[in-house]
Symmetry: C2
Subunit: 336 residues, 2 copies
């Protein structure tokens, strides 16, 4: 049987409440009692029963994260790095992390409801926001603490961290234009995803600002996986009037696009320029290495986690809305 406060109380000959107070370092317990209690607790291998603590304290010291998984072969290095950041930061603050997986869709809010109403967690992390995001609407209406990675178009004020996709895409498209490219294709992502919208807007804006014609047929849609990047780039490159550069909405699709180009005997960075967005570790070690926009993924994980914990604790946030500027990392794939 596990050792409880009662057992310790018996062992030291004090009451349960004194033992509890001693372990929680309350003021009104004498120093020697505290030391005695703590020593005995350690010796007996005491570990508080967290279910009881949670029931009494009315908080769980647990954060929730529902991963949007697309299909069974969900394999995105972006998320594992984010998870590392979130996991480490929450552990540092003594919070547990409850992870759940759910495909985006109509019954998604059920997973959120379960977390919120069952009081499983004190706050939630929301990632990959959508323009009209039901999850955010739900949480905001409930007044439940949450922090998002990404913005939305809805009229809710909530704390978030986001990267500036518009100016990020500006940087890389301008880079391509400066290298002399005129026919630049874009592998877009589902437009309900907020970051996809921003990145596409960045692409359009930069083309326009440079007075370049925008051939809509050069904008093709992918789903963020290498697979569709591969397909999309294949279609683009098989056209008689093929583009000289392809900017992908994320690194994974860019890597797929590179493979498609290479299968066609094209030398990436020479015959065709290809760029990504995110700077996942793979980008650095592909061949040729991928020109992309760097985001501090691990640090973002820690940031949103830290912000959420501050919210839960009722502390004020120094910055409620953080917009990070991605930095351009020029590597060989753009021929720069």
């Amino acid at each position: 049987m596990a050792v409880t406060l009662k057992d310790i109380a018996q062992a030291v000959g004090k009451s349960v409440s004194t033992v509890s107070s001693a372990l929680n370092d309350y003021e009104d317990v004498s120093q020697e009692t505290k030391e005695l209690v703590r020593r005995v607790a350690r010796e007996m291998g005491y570990m508080p029963n967290i279910a009881a603590q949670r029931l009494r304290r009315k908080r769980t010291d647990t954060l929730g994260w529902i991963l949007p998984t697309f299909g069974p072969r969900f394999s995105d290095p972006f998320f594992s790095e984010l998870l590392a950041g979130i996991g480490n930061e929450s552990a540092l603050n003594g919070f547990d992390l409850l992870v759940s997986t759910h495909a985006p869709g109509p019954d998604e809010d059920e997973a959120y409801r379960r977390m919120v109403s069952g009081r499983r967690v004190d706050g939630l992390l929301v990632v990959r926001t959508r323009s009209n995001d039901l999850r955010i609407a739900f949480l905001a209406e409930q007044g439940f603490p949450f922090v998002a990675f990404g913005r939305t178009q809805q009229d809710f004020d909530f704390p978030y961290v986001d990267e500036d996709g518009v100016s990020g895409m500006n940087l890389v498209i301008q880079h391509l234009i400066d290298l002399g490219h005129r026919r630049i294709a874009f592998i877009a992502a589902p437009p309900d995803l907020m970051f996809a919208t921003y990145r596409l807007a960045g692409f359009r804006g930069t083309m326009e600002r440079n007075g370049l014609p925008l051939d809509e047929s050069l904008i093709v849609l992918g789903d963020l996986t290498q697979h569709t990047g591969h397909q999309a780039a294949g279609e683009l490159l098989d056209r008689p009037d093929r583009p000289t550069a392809i900017a992908a909405c994320n690194d994974l699709m860019a890597l797929g696009a590179m493979a498609a180009a290479q299968e066609r005997g094209l030398i990436v960075g020479q015959d065709v320029a290809i760029t990504g967005f995110d700077d996942i570790p793979l980008a650095q070690h592909s061949h040729p290495a991928l020109t992309t926009l760097h985001q501090p993924i691990y640090r973002i994980g820690r940031m949103i986690c830290d912000m959420l914990i501050k919210c839960i604790r009722g502390e004020s946030l120094p910055e409620r809305h953080v917009l990070l500027q991605p930095s351009l990392v020029v590597r060989r794939s753009s021929g720069g």
Copy 2:
């Protein structure tokens, strides 16, 4: 305030215990009462307080998984796919998943102790087992339910799923030999990792069985990331007597190795053959596509999760030890 059993009891004019029994579908509650209670509960938006349930029931309906993270830029597509499998299977069974991150090392058992002694979870998942694995020793000694992905050299009997690394590596090395390769290099992984040991043993065994000399200097050590795969392959390929084929212990290192070869102007699959192990989605879409050994990662996630839940429920396992046979996927990188 959240609605409790008491509120429902008041609303339907019955006692708390009757309401509880009704919601748990006990025998001695009349059908009409059950229906009434359930309807009212739904209408009032009742959600059980899980902290109270856990305290009373003495179980958490939660599984724990401590991810071994190596450094902040932890980014392994293998794990995100495993997570998808584990997450989906546990959700299907009504279990929560508590994820924690911890670098492998001496204070790792503290994370396990926290989960176990704090009664945070009913069972644990252990992945990436080591030959002398303190985590497994700890859990086995505590008699705490757990299922491992991977075996160990210790003398404990515990349920596990593993892939047969020896015969997997046999397949791919034999494949290379059949293609005429004689000087085959191997990018190994830290030998304390069980799967690394098996895969290396598979390499050695196949070379020996084919009567090929084993040049120990052709076995170099990596840490499973593309980065070290890249480095290791670089060293190998810069030797005057460079190998004609490189087998990597995992896909990520193989991808790094491919980049190293390509940087040196070598055509992978022609000038040098390169193979991996795991068949992560990236393997299919690299250029050239990577010859590797397929493992059903998602399914493995579901399997270990399902086994763990059975253990917790006290059900017997149809198979306590599962050894999966990886299948060879020949693609272009081996020139096959």
